[in-house]
């Protein structure tokens, strides 16, 4: 098992290296200069030259590339060209916002998707249950998250005025309260801040969660269909077990293996989904940060963000592979 993990980690290195190289060169192939983007209309010749020099962009590309890789090995992603913050610090501040969004939309997607999938599998071809549920799933699949997001904003934020229009709530505040132990000394403020964060989170989580729920429900439906046609299910039924036990004990657990794959996929899809969701809801987070960084040609920040995205996906895939063994004892890694 340990050997397997090590092997996977070793394989991840060239993958990460490849992703980092692609983003490095892709950013530089893009026309436009970070200094010009930063200074806009009022840039003077002198200021532009100064800026290019200060940012180290006057050096040959090969030098910049080697420098970038060497620093990244030491986990130093440099400073944001635009705002001067260390990239790692910036990402660390953005990450919690994206994490809560991904987690909460995962919850929404699982709560909607899995039951719909299971029910429509068990009631296959029932015109009253399966078909409507499958139509809902289809709707979710065909609705882009930004469209649903705008719709939710118009209804709940603009017309009903029950959810905030922009922002992510005071997550920074919540985290610092937890760090400094203030969460317990002033629980009222803490709860208010948590409430504020959740209040800001509801619509984005619903929008992203619902579009992802469609994928989850379709996959869990087919997983369930496959499982309930297996011999051991028939055996279980033949033994005279109650249907509830058959589904819970035998079918549901076996269904988890393909479902875990979905979770792996889910993280990748959700991360790309956050780019749109965060933009529509004007929420801080890695996705919005990445879009802004590319627009501003903020090379280190975009590179850092892509590196982190790649690492997350590699890590999640590895974890999912590990979990297979936990869920299905027949699977072992060597």
């Amino acid at each position: 098992m340990l050997q397997y993990i090590l092997r996977r980690v070793v394989v991840a290195v060239p993958m990460l290296f490849g992703a980092m190289s692609i983003v490095f060169f892709a950013m530089r192939i893009l026309p436009g200069d970070p200094c010009v983007a930063m200074m806009g209309d009022q840039a003077t010749t002198e200021a532009l030259a100064d800026c290019t020099k200060n940012l180290g962009l006057h050096r040959p590309l090969a030098v910049q590339y080697v420098d970038y890789l060497w620093r990244s090995v030491q986990l130093d992603f440099g400073n944001s060209l635009r705002q001067g913050y260390p990239v790692s610090e910036y990402i660390a501040r953005m990450f919690p916002h994206t994490l809560v969004l991904v987690l909460s939309s995962a919850v929404v997607a699982a709560l909607i998707g899995i039951p719909i999938g299971i029910v429509s599998a068990l009631k296959r071809r029932s015109p009253l249950i399966d078909y409507p549920l499958r139509i809902i799933a289809l709707l979710g699949l065909s609705m882009p998250v930004f469209w649903l997001g705008i719709l939710l904003l118009i209804v709940f934020s603009l017309h009903l005025n029950v959810f905030p229009l922009i922002g992510g709530g005071d997550l920074d505040g919540v985290i610092s309260m937890l760090k400094n132990g203030e969460a317990f000394s002033s629980p009222r403020d803490f709860l208010a801040a948590v409430g504020d964060v959740l209040h800001h989170l509801t619509l984005p989580a619903l929008a992203l969660g619902f579009t992802l729920a469609a994928t989850v429900s379709r996959l869990s439906r087919s997983a369930m269909l496959e499982v309930i046609s297996q011999d051991y299910i028939r055996t279980a039924r033949a033994k005279g077990q109650v249907e509830r036990a058959v589904i819970y004990k035998h079918a549901f657990r076996n269904m988890m293996v393909p479902l875990l794959t979905i979770i792996g996929l889910f993280v990748a899809v959700a991360l790309t989904g956050t780019v749109l969701t965060e933009t529509v809801f004007t929420r801080p987070g890695l996705g919005k940060m990445l879009v802004d960084a590319i627009g501003a040609r903020d090379y280190p920040l975009a590179q850092g963000a892509i590196t982190v995205f790649t690492m997350i996906i590699i890590f999640v895939n590895l974890t999912v592979d590990m979990l297979y063994a936990v869920v299905d004892p027949r699977i072992t890694y060597r």
């Binding site: 026309p31 983007a37 806009g40 003077t44 002198e46 909607i112 209040h199 819970y248």
Partner: protein, 538 residues
């Protein structure tokens, strides 16, 4: 039974969703913002500044927020209930004198002015430091060029500073205004924070920096010890909202009180009016204009340049972009409100004359400009599409390549566009303005790496620019710049379209300003010159 499981799952998911929704609602009914009712908070929707060091950025939103935190030796005068950019008044300096030879300025600093966050009293050392870091081109600083007239700075005593100039400078007091190079920072704070001063700003302005949540908001708080008295507003929440549509929804909903739009269009103004908000218009604003590269065929032929100008219907473009009072039809290559401005005349809109001139110049069927680059941002694509249509009518076909703003800037400095659409604001005086756009030193050239902004490649007023800088007589100086404008009129190198006011939308039920929304408060940094005079009502 399967039905049991089914109902359990359904129940579970419905319950969870309801819980999530109810939680959201409960939080709303018991607003965590109970404090907000006590505090007077000004909610601003704008883009996020990239730094709060006042000497380093030229972006609109950054310049706008700086004025909340920093002040200079002088300020734009408040006269007859209006703010004018043509005159200055004392601010951090109480008074000043100029030596008879016009090269030594002595400023007496106001006593008892405090820096934010306990960084102590403002002294002459801070003033010297603020200017010298720019003159010495500390990395990142951008406005040193505006202080190059300074030869030396002497601290006479903690409250007196003497600035010796290389030669007389007609606009020196204008350079000392709290704007760009004129802002005074705390020497101690800059030395303490180094590079990170940009997010640990310390000035003497009415508001101090509290915190920054990147990509979300910046919080400023009222400075109790502000030398002109604590502002009425307790906190400023500066939200990062890139989209104008979102800003408008927020204004209507009450999430925001004032907004800094990317571009004020007729549609934007209409929506603002519909929701009962007002637009605060500020001169001199920015001018949108065309520069024609007189060195590149076919525009190296003055007849073709004249034909180009006859083809463009400036009034139609202005009215389409900014109907009625949203902008004024530009009258000169030096905008009104700038010292030295005189009205110029330009070839009137006449497509027939244009066609005739083109035929004379050897283009009876017109010509095609391939790969004309234009930014996809701000006013650029709209103005250019209108011009494209008008040019087409006389046979000049422009094939547009709409690109990112950064790419556009890159390409116009490579001289890829034979005529360039451009906008901008400078110190309101003909010298800095003409020096940037018509001095031969500013001709962009990819071969030398010069990224200047003399897109017309004009060389005919260099002598006047030198003469203007040395002239001490105000009238004679004005005459020099009048002559410069006449030469530009003769050579047809620039065609100004609209003088667009700096505009913010404001909810008057929430925020009041003492100045007339209609050009009552002139400013240079796209924002309120005196944000401390805004009042949050209820």
């Amino acid at each position: 039974m399967p039905s049991l499981i089914r109902s359990r799952f359904t129940l579970l998911s419905v319950a969870a969703l309801t819980a999530l929704l109810t939680f959201g609602l409960v939080v709303l009914v018991d607003p965590p913002a109970a404090d907000a009712q006590k505090k007077k908070i000004l909610n601003v929707a704008a883009k996020e500044p990239e730094t709060l060091d006042p000497h380093t950025s030229i972006l609109g939103q950054t310049q706008a927020i700086k004025r909340f935190m920093y002040r200079g030796l002088t300020r734009f005068a408040i006269k007859d209930g209006k703010v004018t950019t043509a005159e200055v008044q004392p601010d951090l300096a109480e008074s000043w004198t100029l030596s008879p030879d016009g090269t030594v300025w002595t400023f007496k600093l106001r006593k008892g002015v405090q820096f934010h966050k306990g960084f102590g009293e403002l002294t002459a050392e801070d003033v010297k430091f603020s200017f010298e870091r720019q003159i010495n081109r500390v990395p990142g600083t951008r406005f040193g060029v505006n202080l190059e007239v300074i030869k030396s700075i002497e601290v006479v005593d903690p409250h007196t500073i003497q600035i010796v100039l290389k030669s007389f400078d007609a606009i020196f007091l204008l350079r000392m205004v709290g704007y760009q190079q004129g802002y005074i920072v705390s020497k101690k704070a800059v030395e303490k924070y180094g590079e990170q001063f940009k997010w640990n700003p310390v000035g003497t302005g009415p508001f101090y920096f509290e915190r920054h949540s990147p990509r979300e908001k910046i919080v400023l708080k009222a400075f109790d010890k502000y030398h002109a008295g604590r502002p009425q507003i307790d906190e400023v929440h500066w939200f990062d909202v890139p989209e104008d549509a979102t800003k408008l929804i927020g204004l209507e909903k009450g999430t925001f009180d004032v907004l800094y739009p990317e571009a004020v269009t007729a549609d934007f103004a209409g929506q603002v009016e519909k929701m009962g908000a007002v637009i605060d218009k500020r001169g001199p604003g920015q001018q949108e204009r065309f520069y024609v590269n007189m060195t590149k065929p076919p525009f190296d032929d003055i007849r073709v340049r004249r034909a180009f100008m006859h083809a463009i219907d400036r009034k139609a473009i202005k009215e389409t972009m900014y109907p009625g009072g949203l902008a004024r039809l530009a009258t000169s290559c030096v905008p009104p409100g700038y010292f030295g401005h005189i009205p110029m005349t330009f070839p009137e809109h006449d497509p027939e004359k244009a066609k005739k001139l083109l035929a004379e110049a050897g283009h009876p069927n017109g010509f095609t400009i391939k790969n004309y680059f234009i930014s996809k941002s701000f006013f650029y694509p709209k103005v250019l599409t209108l011009a494209q249509e008008q040019l087409k009518k006389v046979g000049i076909i422009v094939e547009l390549q709409v690109v990112e703003h950064a790419t556009f800037h890159e390409n116009i400095r490579k001289n890829l566009d034979p005529f360039v659409l451009y906008g901008g604001t400078r110190l309101p005086d003909a010298d800095p303005w003409l020096s940037l756009f018509f001095d031969s030193k500013e001709i962009p050239d990819p071969a030398t790496g010069n990224k200047g902004t003399n897109f017309a490649h004009y060389r005919a007023i260099d002598d006047l620019l030198v003469a203007g800088r040395l002239e001490r007589d105000v009238k004679k100086r004005a005459a020099v710049y009048a002559e410069a404008q006449k030469r530009m009129e003769r050579d047809l190198v620039c065609l100004p379209i609209s003088d667009v006011a700096g505009q913010w939308a404001r909810n008057p039920k929430r925020v009041s300003t003492p100045f007339d929304p209609d050009y009552g408060e002139f400013s240079l940094h796209y924002s309120y010159n005196y944000p401390e005079m805004l009042k949050v009502l209820n």
